[in-house]
């Protein structure tokens, strides 16, 4: 019993998730294996195999299944997911179109019905050809954009492999087929045909054949526009895009190789900063002034001080510490230091004064001073020291 078309469409709609997965499997593997089918049905908890066979969706091949071409093409079309045709497969249309065209020319004055049939067949072949080209272009755009966006984060080597694959096997050959400047391209063949048909549509005797020629001519003109558009997409968009991916990966290969040992690799260019050292225009006079200082040298005599080791003053810390301890508590440490030194020497030498000052750091004394109080000036042999008044007492005793 023939199934209602609406029932089939409803079925496809209700189970579209499953249908789409089956389509993807066949797009990838060429058929749907029994285990893949079972897995998909189990995942969706659904048993629609009988319906798939009843609606002639599936054709059984041994234990496996194949989606029938009508359904497959329909799904390809509505999903815009086309299996790309190899350019050589597309090229076969050149032979069929050329052959039909040759037959039309040869039989132009022979049987009318055969002529009409040949015109119609030529129309169909050209349509199939343009559809195949369009499908391939759409698929190539999708593949290239996927590569470019790299959502799957594939390795750059894989990316360049895929880019090279699409360029070498699909894009370049397809471009050759469509290239207007190539005299052997199908596009040029179709142009030749349209010129011939253009004449026939105007002057052919038979009215019916003239109408067919007219229809074919209009279709060929439209096809020519379509092919030019496809060719432009390939030339202007796909080739640069995919070349860019290839170039990008080449650059990355270069960086990875360079980074393996950057210090041993020659960097080939230098935007080097150059310093200029010009001479000042006053250089002569400046130099002369400088040199003149040494033109007249007075003799300088240095007397040997004849110092012996015993003449050198050595700070007897213990002696002065005892002196200090005897005087405690005292109200002004630096005054004491000055008086002590002056009692022994004529001048207070700075070095000696500082040596005595180290007594302030002894452990068993306590220091006290008022930071706001006036400072006292002690004159040493070569400087005036402004020092605070520091009170000292023995540590722990009042």
């Amino acid at each position: 019993m023939r199934t209602e078309p609406r029932t089939i469409l409803n079925f496809l709609s209700n189970y579209f998730d499953i249908i789409k997965e089956l389509f993807d499997v066949q797009l990838k593997d060429g058929l749907v294996r029994r285990e893949d089918l079972n897995a998909i049905l189990a995942e969706h908890d659904s048993d629609i195999l009988n319906k798939l066979i009843e609606y002639k969706f599936f054709k059984k091949i041994a234990d496996d299944f194949e989606i029938r071409p009508m359904y497959f093409k329909f799904l390809e079309f509505i999903l815009s997911e086309f299996k790309p045709l190899l350019p050589e497969t597309i090229e076969k249309y050149e032979h069929s179109v050329t052959s039909l065209f040759k037959k039309i020319k040869e039989g132009i004055n022979k049987d009318r019905n055969i002529l009409l049939q040949r015109i119609s067949d030529l129309n169909n072949e050209v349509r199939d050809f343009t559809e195949a080209v369009e499908k391939n272009t759409l698929r190539l755009i999708a593949e290239t954009k996927e590569l470019k966006s790299n959502v799957d984060k594939i390795d750059y080597r894989e990316k360049v492999r895929k880019a090279s694959f699409w360029i070498d096997y699909y894009i370049t050959p397809l471009n050759t087929i469509l290239d207007v400047s190539n005299s052997d391209s199908i596009t040029n063949r179709l142009l030749d045909i349209s010129q011939y048909i253009n004449v026939r549509r105007l002057n052919f005797d038979d009215e019916m054949a003239r109408q067919q020629f007219e229809k074919l001519y209009v279709f060929l003109v439209q096809t020519n526009d379509d092919l030019l558009r496809q060719s432009k997409i390939l030339t202007n968009e796909l080739l640069p895009l995919i070349e860019r991916i290839r170039s990008e990966s080449m650059i990355l290969t270069g960086w990875i190789e360079f980074l393996k040992n950057p210090n041993k690799s020659e960097t080939p260019f230098i935007p080097k900063s150059i310093r200029a050292y010009p001479y000042n225009n006053a250089m002569y006079f400046n130099s002369l002034e400088y040199v003149q200082q040494y033109m007249q040298n007075d003799d300088v005599y240095l007397e040997d001080p004849n110092l012996s080791a015993s003449d050198k003053w050595i700070f007897n810390k213990e002696f002065y510490r005892e002196q200090l301890m005897k005087e405690l508590p005292m109200t002004n440490f630096f005054e004491w230091a000055g008086i002590t030194l002056r009692s022994e020497y004529e001048d207070i030498e700075t070095e000696k004064f500082f040596s005595l000052s180290t007594l302030l750091f002894e452990d068993d004394i306590e220091l006290e001073f008022d930071p706001t109080a006036d400072r006292q000036v002690i004159r040493t042999s070569d400087m005036n020291l402004r020092v605070p008044k520091i009170k000292i007492k023995r540590h722990g005793l009042s």
């Binding site: 790299n150 650059i251 360079f258 980074l259 950057p262 960097t267 935007p271 080097k272 900063s273 150059i274």
Partner: protein, 180 residues
């Protein structure tokens, strides 16, 4: 003898290792007098002047200069890390605005740790900040703010270098394979 307009600035910038960009009025003057400047730099300093469609710079035979090596390492690392993140690094370098913190994050998480830590210009955030200043002075990057920058067309020099480097390596590999 009449000298081209901006002669002093053109010579000064190029000798300072700057890239003269097409957006700069000096570039037109330089391009219009390409022959003169080519001879001038060759005869005077033994430098080769390279004028591309959107930038010009000086090249010397000196190969021990460290800055260009550091720039190559920096851009190489940046490309590698951007690619690792699944980005199209060429597009990023050509069009995107970079953030110093983002660069820090990329380099700090890079697997090229030894290379980065042993490079005085790239070893840490502070060093990188100085380094970006140098790149800015040389017109290799354009600072949009204290932390944000974009690459100028001068980046192409480094991409060409990497491409040629890869070609050299691939050619060497093929020669080795052929001789085996």
């Amino acid at each position: 003898m009449d000298f081209p307009r901006y002669h002093k600035e053109i010579v000064g910038d190029l000798l300072d290792g700057k890239f003269v960009l097409a957006t700069d009025a000096k570039f037109i003057e330089l391009k219009n007098n390409a022959d003169f400047y080519g001879k001038f730099f060759k005869e005077t300093f033994d430098f080769y002047l390279d004028i591309k469609s959107d930038y010009a710079y000086l090249i010397s035979e000196e190969t021990m200069e460290m800055l260009s090596r550091d720039i190559c390492i920096f851009i190489g690392l940046l490309c590698y890390e951007l690619d690792k993140e699944g980005k199209n690094f060429l597009d990023e370098i050509q069009y995107a605005e970079f953030d110093a913190e983002m660069v820090d994050s990329l380099l700090d998480n890079s697997s090229y740790t030894d290379l980065i830590l042993n490079n005085n210009q790239l070893k840490n955030s502070e060093a990188r900040k100085q380094f970006l200043g140098t790149l800015n002075r040389r017109n290799i990057i354009d600072r949009n703010s204290d932390k944000k920058f974009t690459f100028t067309p001068a980046y192409k020099v480094f991409m060409d270098f990497a491409k040629n480097f890869a070609k050299g390596k691939l050619a060497a590999t093929n020669t080795e394979e052929d001789s085996e």
